[in-house]
């Protein structure tokens, strides 16, 4: 019975998994997924395909609506991560679950700390444990350093070690390379292969084809909440995978004419900001964004991009420096005044700032213009004008919804972002701050938003684009800034000829342009 014998090798079998979230989204529909002992298995699919949902169920963060999960031949109800950990399943999240103000060793033993005289945390022992695991798995970390001071690559190693210390034999890695530079990625791959050779099973969630081809043994492809099949990595080509993932050939290169930059709209000079942990997040940042151009800001996350946007939209005030829009200082102004000056923001965290999830699409698209004369007659709203505006925006931005009264929280990620963009792009802006405008949304919406950004910039609007997606910044930007450690590490007045490798070196701080070269970002 060959079938029987084969099944003995499976450490995980998920059968007919369906998951419907309380907001009605069917994230998984009858998905089968299995893992063989000692393999690196890729779980592929676009954002929103249901990969993360499937793995959250394997890690006990979510429970399936129907279907069963069998781990090491035993049918399990994974009701919480602690149950999953007890069965040897560990997860390394895309956004690290570490306490920044604690040391690496303290994070390692969090919740299972060795005790001294039964009461106090035994720090020395924690450090010892960390060293021991670090050496055993050849994952180099500094046990005594504070997590907030260590580079992203090392934080990830801490996460992996954390799972291993807790006895994980199966490691789920959620887009582990998304935040890494190419050098760090190469290092990670060596470590993963090492773990594989020691008998560990790894799930590698990704949508980067090259990485998958390089490191995995088998792959499961997901699309729209369904499994599109399981393949041996050596048996399929990149083209086949791409077709299975997307279902159509996506042209991700956006057509754009050469920019003809006009006058300076946003002028930023010598911006400095020290955060509450006394870390310098912005260090003498100076640049201009001109009419009709897209200035991109690339960089590994956490190198000052977030702080920069916070300053420019008055969520925070810098320690020193200036920022003006068409000559008017914007630092510390109320958001209402900043919007009156024609500044729009597509915020990085769309659920927190971009929308009111429990309000209708209509209420969400008018939030910045509700006091406008056009939408009021006397003390009351002009409901007809508001309905018209909402319907127009839904049509123009192709928001997929039942009608304008549907709650925004019920929409898919891509459509939520379209609601945000519909508002921010339609208020006659002179400057658009687009912070990770296409993060985590489907290809269709991504393409749409990118095209809109180019279209708007060519109509004479200044665009500042912050993105951790290298393809996106390199594709859309007319000129480009790389940020590292709160400083501008490089400025390119043309993105033609730039490669991932060049960018990676600046992003990682291996290279730094001269002051003179960087000063070209200011067009005085």
């Amino acid at each position: 019975m060959p079938d029987e014998r084969a099944s003995e090798n499976y450490v995980v079998r998920m059968k007919g998994i369906t998951k419907v979230y309380p907001n009605g989204v069917a994230a998984n529909q009858g998905v089968d997924f299995d893992l063989r002992k000692g393999e690196i298995h890729a779980l592929m699919g676009e954002n929103g395909a249901g990969k993360s949902t499937l793995m959250k169920m394997l890690f006990g963060l979510e429970q399936p609506t129907s279907g069963e999960i069998i781990v090491n031949g035993e049918k399990l109800e994974l009701t919480s991560p602690s149950v999953a950990i007890a069965h040897g399943i560990g997860m390394v999240h895309q956004h690290f679950m570490l306490v920044p103000s604690l040391s690496v060793a303290e994070n390692m033993v969090l919740g299972m700390a060795p005790k001294k005289s039964g009461l106090f945390v035994d720090r020395a022992k924690a450090i010892e444990i960390t060293r021991e695991y670090s050496e055993k798995f050849n994952l180099h970390v500094e046990p005594e350093a504070k997590v907030m001071d260590i580079p992203v690559g090392m934080k990830q190693k801490v996460e992996i070690l954390k799972a291993l210390v807790r006895g994980a034999k199966i490691l789920i890695m959620d887009e582990p390379t998304a935040v890494l530079t190419s050098q760090e990625t190469a290092e990670l791959f060596v470590e993963l292969k090492n773990l594989k050779n020691q008998g560990y099973t790894i799930v590698f969630i990704s949508h980067k084809l090259n990485e998958i081809m390089e490191i995995t043994d088998r792959l499961t492809i997901m699309r729209n909440g369904r499994s599109m099949g399981v393949y041996n990595t050596c048996d399929v080509t990149k083209e086949e995978i791409s077709r299975l993932m997307v279902g159509r050939d996506v042209v991700l290169s956006v057509q754009k004419d050469k920019a003809v930059p006009g006058d300076t709209v946003l002028r930023v000079r010598e911006l400095e900001y020290v955060n509450e942990w006394h870390k310098k997040m912005l260090d003498k940042v100076s640049f201009d964004v001109r009419k009709g151009e897209i200035l991109g800001i690339a960089g590994v996350e956490g190198n000052g991009q977030k702080e920069l946007i916070d300053m420019l939209f008055s969520f925070n005030v810098p320690n020193s420096g200036t920022a003006t829009v068409n000559g008017t200082s914007i630092l510390g102004l109320p958001q209402q005044r900043i919007r009156e000056l024609g500044v729009s923001l597509v915020p990085e965290d769309r659920m927190l700032y971009g929308i009111a999830a429990d309000a209708s699409i209509e209420e969400n698209v008018i939030s910045d213009r509700a006091s406008d004369k056009r939408y009021n007659s006397g003390p009351l709203f002009n409901m007809k004008a508001i309905h018209q505006e909402a319907d127009r925006l839904i049509r123009e931005f192709t928001v997929l919804c039942k009608d304008r009264s549907q709650h925004v929280g019920m929409l898919s990620g891509g459509n939520i972002q379209k609601v945000v963009v519909a508002r921010e792009f339609s208020n006659d802006p002179v400057l658009i701050l687009a912070d990770q405008p296409t993060r985590g949304i489907d290809v269709g919406a991504t393409e749409f938003i990118r095209k809109k950004l180019v279209e708007l910039s060519r109509s004479g609007i200044a665009v500042l684009l912050v993105s951790a997606d290298l393809n996106e910044v390199m594709e859309l930007s007319d000129s480009l800034i790389v940020m590292h450690n709160g400083q501008i590490a490089a400025y390119f007045d043309d993105t033609a000829g730039l490669t991932d490798e060049i960018m990676g070196e600046y992003m990682l701080g291996l290279k730094q342009q001269s002051d003179q070269e960087i000063r070209r970002a200011c067009h005085d």
Partner: protein, 387 residues
């Protein structure tokens, strides 16, 4: 989830919550009912339930049988007047995510200030009640600036602040009544009588309703419901209040004046509570004699939660609460069951409404069914396109 399913869920959820509360009430009535034997107790419970559920609109007598009782219905409507106002007040404040509990003190202060205007400020009839009620409302609006400004300027919890404010208001009024404002010619502590010009006249003919008191205040309360609904759903200020309540960060990012709107919601809430107190005072009483917090503010909180902070649903919720209260009073009178039972019934209903996860399993089933239907439909449409 489709709108019909959403509505069905809301209705079923409300009914189940009320049903469970009534079952708990039945059990408690049975325990506290007088009677030597099980059968006696059962009989007493049956009588008590009859009084509580049907008593508010029917009179039961051995001679005439069961008859519709217009007076009791009028009493219920009259009892709704102050609680509609406090319900609206709480709706406006809670919509902005401001857990201001000052409606209780607010209605007492509004009643007191209105009473003072009714006593000491000579004005022509017609104008007098209007001015008195407006001043009463304005006084409370002014007082509510305190928790509102402390919240926006110093981030003091408006809940704690307004809760304590209730007692400050009550004791200041008691002090003033006891020392300076009492009519010494009366047997108990009460103010001088209101001027005749200040009364809000009764709406219905006493002959028909055999002594029922229902003032024009009821009509004003319904008008306030409509105005409040328009304000919340059809004006830019109400819109800002609701958006801040849903997501304050979003409102700030959108360019709304968050601090100002938070103050506005509490000042307006204060005005509504105060005006409600004034209308209640001039429609029902001839002099001020409240010596303790009247409880209308607390009921207002229950009403706002039952109404889901929707002003249009407030009269319904207020009717339900007034009906229940009347039923329990009758039960206490005729069936010898403690009237305090209403507090328990209220508490149980409150609990199930406030429990967000109550019946969430059922809700999830409806959601799953909707999602599956949608998937099927999409597949059917896709199939058609391919063919």
């Amino acid at each position: 989830m489709t709108k019909q399913r959403q509505l069905r869920f809301t209705v079923i959820r409300s009914l189940v919550a009320i049903l469970i509360a009534l079952l708990v009430a039945t059990l408690l009535i049975f325990i506290s009912a007088s009677g030597a034997t099980f059968h006696d107790k059962l009989e007493a419970t049956r009588e008590a339930l009859k009084q509580m559920l049907a008593g508010p609109v029917f009179r039961f007598s051995k001679k005439n049988g069961t008859a519709f009782e217009a007076k009791r219905l009028a009493d219920i409507l009259a009892a709704m007047i102050p609680t509609i106002f406090t319900g609206l007040s709480v709706c406006v404040m809670f919509s902005a995510n401001q857990f201001n509990l000052g409606a209780e003190g607010g209605i007492m202060l509004g009643a007191f200030v209105t009473a003072m205007v009714a006593i000491y400020l000579p004005l022509p009839a017609g104008l007098h009640p209007v001015v008195a009620v407006l001043i009463g409302g304005a006084a409370v609006a002014l007082v509510m600036l305190l928790p509102a400004l402390l919240k926006t300027k110093l981030n003091v919890s408006e809940m704690v602040c307004s809760l304590m404010l209730n007692y400050i208001i009550m004791y200041v009024i008691k002090y003033l009544m006891n020392t300076h404002l009492a009519d010494k010619s009366r047997g108990q502590i009460m103010s001088y009588p209101f001027r005749g010009s200040s009364a809000i006249s009764p709406i219905i003919n006493n002959a028909v309703f055999s002594g029922a008191k229902l003032s024009w205040g009821f009509v004003i309360a319904i008008a306030a419901v409509i105005l409040c609904g328009l304000f919340m759903y059809r004006s830019r200020w109400g819109y800002a209040i609701r958006m801040i309540g849903i997501n304050q960060d979003f409102a700030k990012y959108s360019g709304m004046k968050v601090g100002a709107v938070i103050v506005l919601s509490q000042v307006l809430g204060g005005f509504l509570a105060g005006a409600g107190g004034g209308i209640e005072m001039l429609g029902r009483y001839t002099s001020f004699s409240w010596s303790a917090l009247p409880g209308y503010g607390w009921t207002g909180i229950t009403i706002a939660i039952l109404a889901g902070n929707n002003p249009y649903m407030v009269p319904l919720a207020a009717f339900f609460m007034a009906y229940l209260s009347k039923g329990c009073d009758l039960m206490a009178t005729y069936a010898k069951v403690p009237a305090q039972l209403i507090d328990i019934v209220q508490g149980v209903i409150f609990l199930f409404f406030a429990a967000e996860q109550f019946l969430s399993g059922y809700r999830q089933k409806l959601v799953v069914r909707s999602a599956q239907e949608e998937i099927e439909r999409a597949r059917a449409e896709g199939g058609r396109q391919n063919a």
